[in-house]
Symmetry: C2
Subunit: 469 residues, 2 copies
């Protein structure tokens, strides 16, 4: 009798499939306080890989890491009117500390524009202090009424960058540099996820910004996910927090600012873009473990071959793990690694070794290939090298297939049932945006006709609309 | 006229010197909520280096990283009686979330034994699930009445490890392995700080543990700092959270547990152990930037030499930074790097270059040496290689000089005015410990007569007593 499937098939119920993967692959649990999450080691390992790649690119873009406090005086949030309006409903508020009622309640940061800019006002005096480019890795809290693990959680992990520049042009260029060289690059080049960089409409702009830029991805069910954003804050916070610098002519000016962030939501994207009915699939560029060497028998020759393979792969710079849990059934062990999406399993059994062979199991297409032990490491590295592009191509093909160009709001609505619709922004407009919103369809971003970034006023601008997570 | 000294001299007022270094070297600022801190880029860079070294060793010890929620239901803290008693006075409590009064208040984690063990109770079923070894990098909040930057702050960054084992012996061995292979190793081998590993007295044991082990360092003024601790929790939390596993005989048992942590307090130690009247000094093994190449003139040949030197050092694996701020005065720039404790400055001026020379400024002894450009990189690497041991030797010599063996409580008290006193634990006892405590002197740890770790009951055990931060 066939075993019942471990996961609800994607085609049956995609959200249920997602929940199943998160639970069965041991990615995350719900925390006891509503909306919080426990990130388990495999998912956290993926987050660490992404952090490393993001961090390296942020530093290459000239920003420095620093750390700002978790707790913000409630009054700070009030200083920028739109900002407080946007975040007030989501705040967690500390009213007691050290056994006493606090004189002024403290807010747990939902984002750190206010507290970071209060520091900037002390650190910035002269044009020589600019540009000031700071990044903070941290946890933030936004009270969630409809939490979903990784996608919308009351607490999440992220990085938030905050910069100050002498001119509006420089700030704008930097916001776009981060979007392109950090966010798009990590999503495409590391995660293997095609994304659409674009401009948010006024309705979807960050509270306190004049322009928000985004990278939007299409998930396995055709819905959109906002995967990262970069904002131009103009002088809004600089004025609210009285940040001034003396320019080269001796005049006092407010700097122009940006802020930008990506979060553990990226883990949700990793699951939903590449996952299949057997679990996660992960690009080897992002996977915490790229190759699992499975010792299948309690046997000296097998154990020796497994250890030798691990050592050789380590020598090639591969992130490799030995699974020698021979006291557990093979089927369960293989399923566990499939669920987690380890890019390659190398299976080493007694009979294989006797024949001088091993099996390479490729998680991307689930193919299994017997190879001579003498070629094992070279073939493994070859398969690893090709997996990223194959995952990217699959995701891009799906997005292409499920994206249609339309000319009316009605057609956009219909198309959004299956994927993305592109409609001229001049046709859609603010009114069309409202109409769609009532049906749960949003403008994910605005893009130029050739796919490049653009201002909404330019001719040929398209709105990408979709249902979204 | 000589310029006023930048820092209060250590001999004049050590705590004031510390405050001055933290401010002038731009290490940290006070946050707006009392006791919180902003960690500025240079200090955060040092923290990142330490994190990397700690993380590598934790993984080598078989633990995996994961993430647990910031917010803990208040009722969880109640489950272990000693634990809640120890932490209740320091808690920050969230009473409102998402615009509503919460049904059950949530506590911001002061430490995560309770929330992590609630997960362990779900994850542990069989002896095959053991040992379970988890580490969490995070921020915690303990309300501080007398905050001091890095040393005692309301919010601090740390890692906390939590493990579960099948036997008491294994748990104990693991707590000691972490103390030795992770904490002592990072302090000694990376930071260049001699530390005394030892056992805490009952009075100083972590709330909820049966034994706490510590690494104690001596600061520049002879006072002690507890730099990291590792605890044996026995089955206390396993019982409180009903964690059970089926052993190999099919019997249900509670596992034996450990927890252990080091925090941004290490940055305070880094400042206070090696700092001098000119600022910080940092072992090159820990320094975020090991070599600063200072271009001293706006001149093509100088600029070219500076860039070439940076490239060559990068090629040798050195963490190097170019300082080409030729629009600022040389004195100010050199002082800035001295304050921050960059291990080596390479000064490249017009006249130097014309002579085919450059100057190596060694932060450890403040010596300056002219060297031919052809030997610059080799000599720089040579100086770097020796700095760690010189810093360690200096700190060890001071500790040796300021540690005395005494036989009476009175002598211990007197000696603690200058540094550490060692007194037989059998002589001091619980009563002597209380007597000292009333004078602000504490037993930092208990050690065996030969300096090794020991149980307090063994003969020859010494108590190390001191005033402490």
């Amino acid at each position: 009798m066939p075993k019942p499937p471990v996961l609800t098939p994607q085609a049956t119920d995609f959200p249920k499939w997602y929940q199943d993967v998160v639970a069965k692959a041991e990615l995350a649990d719900n925390g006891p306080v509503r909306g919080t999450m426990v990130i388990r080691p495999w998912a956290y390992g993926l987050w660490e890989q992404l952090q490393g790649e993001i961090n390296r690119r942020i530093k290459a873009a000239g920003a420095q890491n620093a750390y700002f406090p978790l707790l913000i005086p409630a009054s700070y949030l009030q200083k920028e009117a739109e900002h407080v309006e946007g975040f007030a409903p989501e705040l967690a508020i500390v009213t007691q500390g050290g056994g006493k009622e606090l004189e002024e309640p403290a807010v747990i940061r939902p984002t750190s524009e206010t507290i970071i800019n209060s520091s900037f006002s002390k650190w910035i005096n002269s044009y020589k202090d600019l540009p000031l480019r700071i990044n903070n890795w941290s946890n933030v809290v936004r009270w969630e009424l409809r939490p979903r693990l990784f996608l919308r959680t009351t607490e999440f992990l992220w990085q938030e960058g905050h910069t100050a520049h002498a001119t509006a042009d420089e700030a704008r260029a930097y916001a776009l540099q981060i979007l392109e060289d950090v966010y798009r690059s990590v999503m495409v080049d590391v995660m293997g996820i095609p994304v659409i960089p674009g401009l948010k409409t006024r309705k979807e702009t960050f509270a306190g910004a004049i322009r928000s830029w985004t990278c939007e991805g299409m998930m396995g069910d055709g819905k959109a996910l906002q995967m990262g954003t970069s904002h131009e804050l103009a002088q809004n916070f600089a004025k609210a927090f009285d940040i001034r610098f003396q320019d080269q002519n001796g005049e006092m000016q407010h700097p122009w600012q940006t802020s930008w962030g990506v979060s553990t939501r990226l883990l949700g994207a990793a699951i939903m873009v590449h996952g299949d009915d057997h679990g996660m699939r992960i690009s080897p560029r992002a996977a915490p473990t790229q190759v699992v060497v499975m010792q299948l028998a309690e046997d000296d020759a097998v154990a020796a071959a497994a250890r030798a393979t691990v050592q050789e792969l380590l020598g090639r710079g591969v992130r490799v793990e030995l699974d020698d849990r021979v006291d557990r059934g093979f089927g369960r062990r293989a399923t566990d690694w499939e669920l987690k999406g380890a890019p390659i399993r190398i299976e080493l059994g007694k009979r294989d070794i006797d024949k001088g062979e091993a099996t390479i199991a490729d998680r991307v297409d689930r193919s299994k290939t017997s190879v001579p032990l003498t070629e094992l490491v070279a073939r493994t590295v070859e398969v690893l090298d090709g997996q990223h592009q194959r995952l990217y191509d699959e995701a891009l093909a799906r997005r292409t297939e499920r994206t249609v160009d339309v000319e009316t709001v009605e057609d956009a609505l219909a198309a959004a049932g299956n994927g993305f619709a592109r409609i001229p922004w001049a046709t859609l407009g603010l009114e069309g945006e409202e109409t769609l919103a009532k049906q749960g369809v949003t403008v994910r971003c605005l893009v130029g006709a050739d796919g490049s970034l653009s201002d909404p006023d330019e001719p040929g601008v398209l709105a990408v609309v979709a249902r979204a997570y």
